[in-house]
C-alpha cells in the first residue's frame, strides 16, 4: 500500500516535471522566435482591411521664386488619416528631393477631429532649422497646405505638431491650426 502511494506520488512529480519542461521548451522557442503565433483580430492592421486604390495626387512646392507641382501616384484609402499620412510623406520626400529643406522630418501620427475637417499632423521634430528665414518657413507651410487643399478638399484646417505638441518656433505661432486656403 505504502509502495503504491509512493509510486503514485513519484509519478505525479515526474508528470509535473515533464509538463513544466515542455512548457519551458515552448516559451524558449517562442522567445527565440522559432515558433510564431499570429493572433488575428478585426481591429488589427486597418491597412489590409480598409479598401484602397491608387490615384494621382498633386504635390505643390515653392522653388526658384515660383510655385511648382508634381504628380505622384499614391494609395488613396477610405481612411482619410492614412491618405493624409501617405500624401504628407510623399510631399516631404518631394521637397527633400528638390533640396528645399536640409532638415528631413518624418510623420509620427496623423489624427482628425470628429468632423474630419481638422487634421493634426505630428512630426518627429520641428521641420525648421534655426537659420531658416521666416519666408522659408512660410513657403514650407504654404506648400503643405496647398497640397492638402488640392487633394483632400474636405480638410479645411491643419495643425502641425512635433511629438504631439505644438511646434515651438521663434517666429511662427503653431498654437492654432492653419487654414488650408493658406496665407499667400
Amino acid at each position: 500500500m505504502l509502495n503504491k502511494s509512493c509510486y503514485l506520488y513519484n509519478f505525479k512529480i515526474a508528470l509535473l516535471s515533464l509538463l513544466f519542461f515542455l512548457l519551458g521548451c515552448f516559451f524558449y522557442l517562442l522567445y527565440h522566435q522559432k515558433i510564431v503565433i499570429i493572433w488575428t483580430d478585426k481591429t488589427d492592421n486597418p491597412v489590409l482591411l480598409t479598401p484602397a486604390k491608387r490615384r494621382s495626387f498633386t504635390l505643390y512646392f515653392f522653388k526658384d521664386n515660383i510655385w511648382k507641382n508634381e504628380q505622384k501616384e499614391l494609395i488613396d484609402s477610405d481612411d482619410i488619416r492614412l491618405t493624409i499620412n501617405y500624401l504628407t510623406t510623399a510631399w516631404l520626400n518631394q521637397i527633400e528631393e528638390e533640396r528645399l529643406t536640409d532638415k528631413p522630418v518624418t510623420i509620427q501620427a496623423v489624427l482628425l477631429n470628429e468632423l474630419d475637417t481638422l487634421a493634426f499632423i505630428s512630426f518627429d521634430r520641428s521641420p525648421f532649422a534655426k537659420h531658416y528665414s521666416v519666408f522659408q518657413k512660410i513657403m514650407w507651410i504654404e506648400g503643405l497646405l496647398r497640397t492638402i487643399k488640392k487633394n483632400l478638399p474636405k480638410i479645411t484646417e491643419v495643425s502641425l505638431l512635433a511629438h504631439h505638441q505644438p511646434i515651438i518656433d521663434m517666429h511662427i505661432d503653431f498654437s492654432h491650426g492653419f487654414p488650408t486656403t493658406g496665407f499667400c
Partner: protein
Amino acid sequence: MNQNKLIIFLTLLLQLKINFCKTSYTIMLDPAGDAAEPGRVIDETYERGLTLQFAQALKKELESDKSIRVILSRFPGESIEPLQNASFANRLNVDLFVSLHFYQKTSNHLQDTQPAISLYHLLYHPVTDFWQSAKKDKLEFIPYDEIYKVSLNESTKAVQIAKKLLETTFIKNSIFTVGCPFKPLLGVVAPAFAIEIGLTDKNSWQDFVKPISLSLNHVYKQLYKTEVTK
C-alpha cells in the same frame, strides 16, 4: 446759466481739438533676440546684436523728425519674457510697433531666390479675421491672441504703404508681404508689422537704414493722415 453752457461748450471744443491735432507720434522698435536668445547666426555674429544696432540707427534717423518719438523695446543684456514687449507697447499706447529681424543670405540654392525684405503682419485666417472686429474703447475682455484684430486693417495698410515705398528703392519683386501667425507681434494693440532683411554680411544692415526709416515715416504719417515731410 448761459455762462455755464458756454464754459461746457468751450471745454468740449478744446477736447475735440486736442484729439484731432495730435502733434507727436510714438513708434516702438522691437529688435529680435535678447540676452537669453541670441537669434540666428549672421557672418559669425548674432542677430540680436545686429538688430539692436539697426534699431538704434533707425531711431536716430527717425527722430530727426521732431514729431516722432522712438522707443526701443529692449537694451543690451536685457532678457525679455514672452509678451513683455507687447505689454510694454500697450501700456505706452504706441502708435506703431515694428519688429526687426535679420537672417543670413548665402549663395546656397535654398536661399538665393529669397526676397531682399519681407514684411509680415499678424493674421491667423486671411478671410475670417477681417470679419471679426474688436473695439479698443469697449470695456470687454479681448484675449491676447485676438487683440491684433483691433488694428488689423491699419496693420495691413501699413505693410502695403511700406512695400510701395520700398519698391521705389529696391527691385520690385524683392519685397515680400504676407499676413501670417507671426509670434513677435502677438498681443500688440497698435498697428504692428515685422521687417525681415536678408544680410550678406554683418555690416550690410547699414544700407537699409535710410530706406526703412523713410518708409516708416510714410507709414505713420499716412496712417494718421498728416503732411509727409520730405
